[in-house]
Assembly symmetry: C2
Homo-oligomer: 434 residues x 2
Amino acid sequence: MTTITAVTAHDVRFPTSLTQDGSDAMNKDGDYSAAYVVIHTDDPAIRGYGFTFTIGRGNDLCTEAARQRGLPLVGRSVEDSVADLGRVYRELASDSQLRWLGPDKGVEHLAMAAVMNAMWDLAARVAGVPLWRLLAEMSPEQLVDAADLRYLSDALTRDEAIAILTEKAPTRRQRIAELESTGYPCYTTSAGWLGYSDDKLRRLLQEAVDAGYKHIKLKVGANRDDDIRRLRIAREVIGWDAKLMIDANQVWDVPEAIEWIGALAEFQPHWIEEPTSPDDVLGHAAVRRAVAPIGVATGEHGMNRVLFKQMFQAEAIDYCQLDSARLASINEILAVYLMAAKFGVPVCPHAGGVGLCELVQHLSIFDYVAVSGSLDDRVTEFVDHLHEHFVDPCIVRDGAYVLPSQPGYSAEMHEESVARYSYPDGGYWASVAA
Amino acid sequence: MTTITAVTAHDVRFPTSLTQDGSDAMNKDGDYSAAYVVIHTDDPAIRGYGFTFTIGRGNDLCTEAARQRGLPLVGRSVEDSVADLGRVYRELASDSQLRWLGPDKGVEHLAMAAVMNAMWDLAARVAGVPLWRLLAEMSPEQLVDAADLRYLSDALTRDEAIAILTEKAPTRRQRIAELESTGYPCYTTSAGWLGYSDDKLRRLLQEAVDAGYKHIKLKVGANRDDDIRRLRIAREVIGWDAKLMIDANQVWDVPEAIEWIGALAEFQPHWIEEPTSPDDVLGHAAVRRAVAPIGVATGEHGMNRVLFKQMFQAEAIDYCQLDSARLASINEILAVYLMAAKFGVPVCPHAGGVGLCELVQHLSIFDYVAVSGSLDDRVTEFVDHLHEHFVDPCIVRDGAYVLPSQPGYSAEMHEESVARYSYPDGGYWASVAA
């Protein structure tokens, strides 16, 4: 028997604001950061790694919240815990004093994501398989037992969830074989950050086309004339066959969104991402009705499964962009994937940031193998930065994620990276302060 | 000129779990707590006090978040700040790195509430009037300038907001005079906590009737047979003319809520409070359609104005129970009151906890004087505990809040209370640990 001996949490921040990587109409100067959790056991070879993602200030709060949230894990059996991660999740989530601070949203929920991401990483490592395979080898009942279905039964019952998974179970193997050959399709946001010059935009777009991408995303929403000029450049470079997505990062009210998107319609956007407040289910539904056939996408700030349930019920979105470090790990993500399958909405997870690409590749693969069984209209975000800090970085080839093969959730960072970018005492930040 | 010299934040926790005060179906052992903020100036006689409310663990995170959120205030002119609290609010809220942790929800938003509550307290103290009067003396334009209307324009435009306030402006004085005579009507929750025995319930109900209350609230949702027995006791004691409200504190899924409420309908509840997840706009709308004429109330966990906007748009609630320490102070609360007035939904603020009664009396008075101009179907929660820790505690007489008269937002705690209940080093907690 192996025992959890400690849960440590680390405030790791990368100075991305220096290069405006990640700049958009709402977030001009993010320092991509992780509240990084390590689950230690009495066997030095058995650890779990996970994190939530933030963009700088406040990462200390998430780190401390994760440390506190992980305390009840200390002393537990690893084997018992990983055998029933639904129970572990429910126990941690049932702390009613901490629940008051949400429920299921904000700093406390981000911390839950970090801790449970580490527990799922641990489970996959103990099983000796990548997380996508661990999930793909669980039975429909096991998966549904792990899922948090609370508050969802008006949209998805337990029986319906099992039926969705059961239908796809016999053909899981052939889809795994297919993905092992093709990879999982992705798109790139690396070209389109708002802080980049037109020349840099043009160069990066050409590089993306040359690298085989068929989907390209640009940030919009700060200035309408700039948007029109940049979208014209984009269509000049990528042509009209490639799909062009645009992302407003929540800057508009609903009427303004409808008007502004209308002014960009000539560039035939595939989707408009985050047109308004991420909390506004009815607002997204109104935008969607008004801008069709342009699709509406949102989810990176989708706070929890109850929000996504309503997005589906209200027919508010064409694409669900759940976030692997904002939802409370696989337990909650499973519920969103199952609802998306029932309502027929493709899930195209949010990625980028730091480490999100490493996580979401597992989710997309699992979705295709065991839940939706479809690649139609599905494409997963890829942003090409900060992968060098990960022990098992994602690999993208010909516009597709190559299936991860190492055990775990690909969440482990190099110890040197954690040490150097720990805030405020790591080598990098200490040298900046000096 | 007076200058803000420091913003301090204090983790204050009261051991209410010992007596099961505040116990309900979701929250069995809360230690009512405040992340308590003091704004210091270079004039020792001029300070601002505010807080957010939590139920124990995690109050340290809110305290630290409030301390950080208040840092940009240091060095500012008090006079300039209180003259335009809309600008102060927008500047503090515009920190995009902190916004990522919400936006506008969870720990960071609770911290915003604490800091801006202290700023509004400061403004009222500088003006030498209670906060309700400060607000009642602001022009419609000044009030709307202070309000956070972002993401609301599809439900309420700036012009509509001004028109609502302008219509009631000429008659503000007569409503102030009326409330000075009658007070603002309230109801009591003190009798109905779930952890109380039947004998204690019966005794407290009788005391409430004797004290003049015409509205009584009981907690439900843990056990259906217990609920039926307790509601029967309640009707025996209070009769059928008094209004009986029930509160499930989010324990049900939507179908379960509808069924359970149906089983309690014979006791003619006036409203069912928090039947399901506080995030579930469409769920509340479904419950409301199913259980009418029983009203649906929610809001103490209503995370922000965008949530309330949708509650109104979807006709999901009969009573809006906004929370004075969860919404980001007057700036956001104003927006919710204005939307409620437009959509014709009475606001009956959540109170209790620690200090919430002290705050909400100002809100209800202001609503009647300047926004809704109506007392119809409006009643504000009152819970009789922890008032002894406040310098200017609320006063309830004959089932009504007596209008506060001291300058400020009634948020200041006795220094001895803060010292004794500071966690973990205050006298009380140190003695428990020893």
